[in-house]
Symmetry: C2
Subunit: 158 residues, 2 copies
């Protein structure tokens, strides 16, 4: 049955994607280590970055942006609130939603964490020329669109 095996590993796009996935996983691992000095993990960084950019976002919107479940936010955000990184205020118009904000400290930690992440990316992508980076990003955007289409398919056929 090595016919199938050969087919899979010969597939050029398959091999390419495996490299992408591996790089991502490694980046995550290294980022986790480097963020540990701030006592946060990648999921917290994602939250901080999004609150930095989209102040007053709701938990629902945040979960959608991060591609995680609402329950995830319900578990994680109270922890970050206790640590004084974020603040949750009820919306006055709609009593269901909680709007999210960075605290002073949250903003500071967000900036340090983004600096760490940017530094890591700069170091590890420095050998890849800018044009190639842009080409990569373009390909990724197309892939992201295709994947969103896949997700829509799955949901509507359910």
């Amino acid at each position: 049955m090595n016919k199938n095996q050969a087919l899979v590993w010969d597939h050029p796009r398959f091999r390419s994607w495996i490299a992408v996935a591996r790089a991502c996983q490694l980046m995550q691992t290294v980022l986790t280590r480097e963020l540990s000095e701030l006592d946060i993990k990648p999921p917290h960084l994602d939250i901080l970055v999004n609150l930095y950019r989209f102040e007053g976002i709701s938990q629902q919107e945040l979960a959608r942006k991060l591609l995680v479940g609402r329950s995830n936010m319900s578990m994680t955000l109270p922890q970050m609130e206790k640590r004084g990184l974020v603040e949750r205020r009820g919306d006055t118009k709609d009593k269901r939603v909680l709007r999210l904000f960075l605290t002073e400290e949250g903003r500071a930690v967000a900036e340090e964490a983004m600096a760490i992440q940017t530094g890591l990316i700069e170091r590890t992508l420095s050998s890849t020329p800018i044009e190639q980076c842009h080409a990569m990003a373009e390909s990724m955007e197309k892939i992201i669109l295709a994947l969103h289409a896949e997700m829509a398919d799955e949901t509507e056929s359910a």
Copy 2:
């Protein structure tokens, strides 16, 4: 303090990498859904693929290849063994190591799962020309090397 924010988001390699990370995360999400019909998840697929290619590998080696802890394998593999997908046999030379093999069913599931993954990759990368895929893979290999160097740095300075 939007000076810092602007700097971060203007950084071209930063933006490029964010696209990569997002594509990976989406791919993982969609793959998880598509694998559910086989009652397995991406981590199991990773294990099956590696056992398919590297028969008789040890738990340690497998963990290293998958970039996870040994304890992860100690928790996951017995489950897969109970489900009849893999088999663990003690090495005769070294009584510490357990060598891993696919069962008949494990091989079948592995092939189905790889077919699902390959199909998904083919569909979502079809809009990216082959040459671009290769260029992407090359960049990723360089990034992987850089990240391994980072990990070595961290470990040796500890």
